[in-house]
């Protein structure tokens, strides 16, 4: 079992934990998640994530983009049902090319 060298304060839960790893080294979170530094090339870092099958892993900006879109979509309920029907009518009655 590797002992991880921690920098400064090591508070967990809502605060960012900062660690320094070398190529090939890993971080273990909880019992199920293992993150490994696989490669470093210029400004890009290749990261490997091993997690139990119940978990999903996403790039943060993609995750955020979908969350925001979902929030927008949830507001669509304020559109009256008749308008939704009208939208479908428009789609269906378009002249065929």
């Amino acid at each position: 079992m590797r002992i991880v060298q921690l920098e400064s304060d090591t508070q967990i839960g809502g605060v960012m934990l900062i660690l320094t790893r070398k190529l090939g080294e890993s971080i273990v979170i909880g019992d199920d998640i293992k993150i490994t530094i696989l490669g470093i090339k210029g400004k890009q870092i290749r990261i490997g994530v091993e997690a139990s099958t119940g978990m999903t892993v996403h790039r943060e900006e993609v995750y955020r983009l979908i969350q925001e879109q979902n929030q927008q979509a949830a507001k669509s309920v304020e559109v009256p049902g008749e308008q939704l029907s009208a939208i479908w009518d428009k789609l269906r009655n378009r002249p065929l090319p």
């Binding site: 099958t53 790039r59 979908i66 969350q67 949830a74 669509s76 559109v79 939208i87 479908w88």
Partner: protein, 152 residues
């Protein structure tokens, strides 16, 4: 009743949903949260929106919902409707995957950036699709959706 396993991204607390069909034969449906009357999503069969929609569903996604047969797979895209000015988009990047056999569902995230989060379905009064061409709705897809929905 549809049972979300992980919930919709950003709304993970809401796991129980029902699918409501405002009018028979129309592919725009409501995914209504059982436990929160104010929370509902307009959804549609993505194949009706984009005929060649072919998402790569991973083994992980299949296992998460205990999917045993291909026929049990139902996909729905969350549709965003902006009323003024009218703009309708569908999220093709993160569809709702449903196992019709056990009602379990998840919002899955496909490999980025293959499909857009905002696929333009309709804008203003012009019937222009994302690539500027007229889009044709396949009636066969509408029937398939009705059959799939009836099974749920």
């Amino acid at each position: 009743m549809i049972l979300m396993q992980r919930g919709i991204l950003g709304f993970e607390g809401y796991k129980r949903f029902v699918l409501l069909m405002p009018s028979a034969g129309e592919p725009l449906l409501w995914l209504q949260a059982v436990d929160e009357p104010g929370l509902a999503f307009v959804v549609a069969n993505p194949a009706v929106i984009k005929g060649d929609y072919n998402p790569a569903i991973t083994a992980h996604d299949i296992e998460s919902l205990d999917i045993q047969r291909g026929e049990d797979i139902v996909l729905l895209s969350i549709v965003t409707v902006q009323p003024q000015p009218l703009r309708v988009t569908a999220n093709l990047l993160a569809p709702i995957l449903i196992n019709a056999a056990n009602r379990k569902a998840n919002q899955i995230v496909l490999e980025y950036p293959a499909y857009p989060v905002q696929y333009l379905v309709l804008e203003d009064d012009a019937m222009r699709g994302r690539d500027g061409t007229q889009q044709q709705i396949d009636r066969g897809q509408i029937d398939k959706l009705s059959v799939a929905m009836a099974a749920l």
